[in-house]
């Protein structure tokens, strides 16, 4: 077979680094015509980066390109823009919809590729003045929808469509491109209902039977097994396992996804048990409306003095938990803190109750980018606890610049923040140092309880270790209960006492940090919706 012709797609020794940070190492991948390849791996394993390389996304070129070769039908290709990739027959359906809300399905499917009729004016002033061939558009859209094998109304306006149909419109748009040979589906079933997902799997099968190859990325492992010919598992930028779908099962996939050879080295430092401690925070039936991180029904008890980790795959709702409790997104349910009920949807009440939150959205929520480090560190404590203020005449609360300067300098030293001075603008700092400023802000509040969301996202290794060490120290020395939310299981296992895994907007289970990685892996995919 293999000698008959070159495979449709071949990726050879693909390497990619982001500013010295190796994210892909020696990736080899082959895909034949009409084959369906399931690509799985934890968040950050390198799946999306690999697909971005294949699709010629700008971000790859802007960050210095990649190493290795991509071969299409045996010919070496190098795409500098997604349009080149489209030209060569590669289509991609992204996680976010890319549709015009006021257009019909037909108009969206053929956006900027509409068949037109020339007329006198267009012959003089250019083809953009040709009129649209509505009949031709209908025909081509209908063809694409049929190819997909799922019924959607071509004349329905996108804005009125259920989420699943929007997803199908996107797929139909890719199918309407005649040159399409390879379709990349990036977590297409995340937003679909059970039946819709089933329909999508069927349509993938029908596409494959028409000779279109598919790369299918998903966290729902049974889907992979149901539809794929081949499974490729990635971890930490390596392909760790490649296997025909028939010869592998869900437990084995999860094992490969989270398993670490270096398990013993990264074992959690000094795990502690807080069995006897009282519950400082009790959460019951929490729902949070955070787009992309919906929390459906969370019940959780946090023991006083512990470091609790919350892990889980992206989009399963782990980020929604702190954001909902701290009042940043609309939430419902009951939360008790230290035996007292904590009102939801009011950030102020949480801060008054001595909770603090280091947001995962550093630049959007965590920092005043255009203000000095001093302001960033001192602001919350000033507003909540009236710290760093001088009272003039008993009424006027005057900013105490000296106290602010002192506390900022103290944290700069303690957390080893690299900056020119405490008056430097937060915008000018590197990601790791910005994160440290966010921590300093929370520390300055002197909270009893601290939520830290994705503390190491996007920062380098050195800063990572420092940040985690600072959290551990804050917990040990000040007796502050800390909940760390992170996508990186390894980091949680090193830092936390217990780890709760969120899946499908609920807590799938809580285990001591010493348990094997596979056990957490199984929990992660247990309720994936």
């Amino acid at each position: 077979m293999e000698k008959n012709s070159a495979p449709l797609l071949e990726m050879r020794n693909i390497k990619k680094d982001f500013f010295g940070n190796q994210v892909l190492t020696d990736i080899n991948l082959t895909l034949r015509e009409g084959e369906v390849l399931g690509l799985v791996g934890e968040n950050g394993a390198g799946k999306s980066t690999l697909m971005k390389i294949l699709f010629g996304m700008d971000v790859i070129r802007e960050t210095g390109g990649y190493e290795g070769d991509i071969l299409l039908n045996g010919e070496k290709v190098k795409f500098s823009t997604p349009f080149d990739a489209l030209e060569a027959g590669i289509g991609m359906v992204h996680q976010e919809f890319s549709l015009i809300p006021g257009f019909t399905a037909t108009e969206n499917i053929l956006l900027n590729r509409e068949p037109t009729k020339t007329n006198v004016i267009s012959q003089i002033f250019g083809s953009r003045l040709s009129t649209l061939d509505r009949k031709g558009m209908d025909r081509r859209a209908q063809d694409a929808i049929e190819k997909m094998g799922v019924k959607i109304d071509p004349h329905m306006v996108i804005g009125d469509m259920p989420v699943g149909h929007k997803q199908f419109t996107e797929i139909a748009r890719e199918l309407s491109k005649e040159q399409l040979k390879l379709l990349i589906l990036d977590e297409p079933t995340a937003v679909l209902t059970e039946q819709e997902a089933e329909a999508l799997l069927n349509s993938i099968r029908s596409m494959a039977s028409r000779g279109i190859s598919v790369i299918f990325i998903t966290h729902r492992l049974h889907e992979i097994l149901a539809v794929c010919d081949k499974v490729v598992i990635m971890r930490d930028g390596y392909v760790v396992k490649e296997s025909p779908a028939k010869e592998i099962d869900v437990p084995e996939i999860t094992h490969w996804m989270v398993g670490r050879e270096v398990d013993a080295v990264a074992a959690p430092a000094e795990p502690r048990s807080h069995e006897g401690a009282k519950n400082i925070l009790s959460v019951r039936n929490l729902w949070v409306d955070m787009p992309g991180e919906t929390v459906r029904n969370v019940n959780l008890d946090v023991k006083e003095g512990e470091i609790l980790g919350i892990g889980g795959l992206a989009g399963q709702g782990k980020l929604g938990i702190p954001n909902g409790i701290m009042g940043l997104y609309e939430a419902g349910g009951t939360v008790e803190f230290g035996g007292k009920s904590l009102p939801l949807n009011t950030p102020r009440a949480c801060l008054d109750a001595s909770l603090a939150f280091v947001s995962e959205d550093r630049r959007g929520v965590g920092l005043l980018l255009d203000e000095s480090l001093e302001w960033n560190v001192a602001f919350s404590a000033m507003q909540i606890h009236n710290k760093f203020l001088k009272n003039i005449g008993g009424i006027i609360k005057w900013r105490d610049e000296r106290a602010i300067h002192k506390v900022t300098e103290q944290y700069i030293e303690e957390l080893m923040i690299k900056c020119t001075s405490s008056r430097q603008k937060a915008r000018e700092l590197s990601g790791g140092n910005q994160q440290k400023i966010c921590l300093a802000k929370a520390f300055a509040l002197q909270p009893k309880f601290l939520f830290v969301s994705e503390p190491t996202r996007g920062i380098d290794v050195g800063a990572k270790a420092l940040v985690l060490e600072a959290l551990r120290k804050f917990n040990r020395e000040n007796g502050v209960t800390i909940v760390v939310i992170s996508s990186e299981l390894e980091e949680l296992r090193q830092t936390c006492d217990r780890i709760a895994i969120v899946s499908g907007g609920e807590i799938a289970g809580i285990l001591p940090a010493t348990r094997a990685a596979e056990e957490f892996g199984m929990l992660m995919v247990s309720k994936v919706k």
Partner: protein, 357 residues
């Protein structure tokens, strides 16, 4: 960090200047400097010119200051200045109507304008909280609507003071009302330093502005003022820190409106006349342009921006007619004023670094 520092020092000072002040600001400052240098050569009396600039600065500075709170809280440039002006006009005319004279008339004008300013400011602020993101366009038209609504009111309200109403019909306010005998020069006259026969330094007005500017500076150094700045800098951050963003914005709008009311009264006591009907419209653009020329942007403004901006803008307005007139016998000052003020606003609106609003 060190790397970028060396680049900075290597750059010529001129480039650094451009980056810090912005090219338009430098051009305007340079143009004004040129005008001052030219002035003696074309026969204009430099002392008179400088006194002119100082006087006009004293009239306008409070109005420009009124923009600061709203810029700080992230409401953008307040093209709704006329709303505050309307409150000030009501205060001024009512004070005269009620028969106050001299210094008390000015104090009463402020006192009477205050409830109107608070009321209008509250409504205006509540409206702006409903339309976050579209403030500037809407403030423009709220301002214009307010002015044209008051045009009707000036005719219909039952004013009767003979100094203000049309002589023939005995009702309806005249477009221009002299404040002589009421609060003409009440501030300017205080500790006035006469320089030439008919010109002097209006010490009182400058002191009054200094007082208000100091209060504003002080406010921005309090806990509440700090919160207001944070709301303008990053509303999400402020909210996560437990700040009630809407209330801060409302407070800033009320402050802006009240200051604009005071500002127009200060303007009138210097100018000598109350101008009604469509005249207040003409104050919006120069006010906004002045603070931008002074170095403010859509979401950052300081007291020095106010002072520098007002001096530069009023300098151009007073100097161009005299100098150009005697040089080329053409009065192009009006055209230059239009191009400079609107060009400055366009520059601020199209700066890429301004962030999205």
């Amino acid at each position: 960090m060190e790397h970028s520092a060396t680049i900075d020092t290597r750059r010529s000072t001129f480039q650094v200047l451009i980056r810090r002040f912005g090219l338009p600001r430098l051009i305007i400052a340079g143009f004004l400097l040129l005008l001052f240098i030219m002035a003696p050569f074309v026969g204009a009396n430099l002392t008179v010119q400088i006194l002119n600039v100082i006087n006009r600065f004293s009239w306008n500075a409070v109005l420009v200051l009124a923009l600061v709170p709203m810029i700080h809280s992230g409401c953008g440039l307040n093209f709704g200045v006329p709303l505050g002006i309307v409150a000030g006009l009501l205060g001024g005319t009512l004070s005269i109507e009620l028969g106050f004279e001299g210094v008390p008339s000015f104090i009463m004008a402020i006192v009477l304008a205050t409830p109107f300013a608070l009321l209008l400011g509250t409504g205006y602020g509540a409206l702006l909280n409903k339309i976050k993101g579209g403030e500037m366009m809407i403030t423009t038209y709220v301002g214009l609507s307010a002015i044209s609504f008051m045009c009707m009111m000036w005719l219909l309200l039952p004013y009767s003071s003979p100094t203000m109403v049309y002589g023939l019909s005995g009702s309806g306010l005249r477009p221009t009302i002299s404040v002589e005998g009421f609060y003409d020069q009440v501030l300017a006259g205080f500790l006035e330093i006469p320089v030439t026969a008919d010109q002097s330094i209006p010490t009182g007005t400058l002191l009054f502005f200094a007082l208000l500017a100091f209060l504003m500076w002080a406010f921005l150094h309090t806990k509440t003022g700090t919160a207001m700045t944070a709301v303008g800098s990053n509303p999400s951050f402020a909210r996560a820190s437990g700040i009630n963003v809407d209330r801060m914005r409302l407070l800033s709008v009320i402050m802006s409106t009240w200051l604009a009311a005071i500002g127009i009264l200060v303007y009138q006591q210097g100018f000598g006349f109350i101008q009604l009907y469509t005249a207040p419209n003409n104050l919006t653009l120069p006010t906004v342009a002045a603070i931008l020329i002074g170095g403010a942007s859509i979401n950052k403004a300081s007291i020095p921006n106010v002072i520098i901006g007002t001096i530069l803008f009023q300098g151009i307005v007073t100097m161009t007619p005299t100098v150009l007139n005697s040089m080329i016998h053409m009065d192009m000052s009006e055209v230059i004023r239009i191009i400079v003020s609107n060009g400055m606003i366009l520059y601020a609106l199209t700066r890429k670094t301004e962030g999205l609003r």
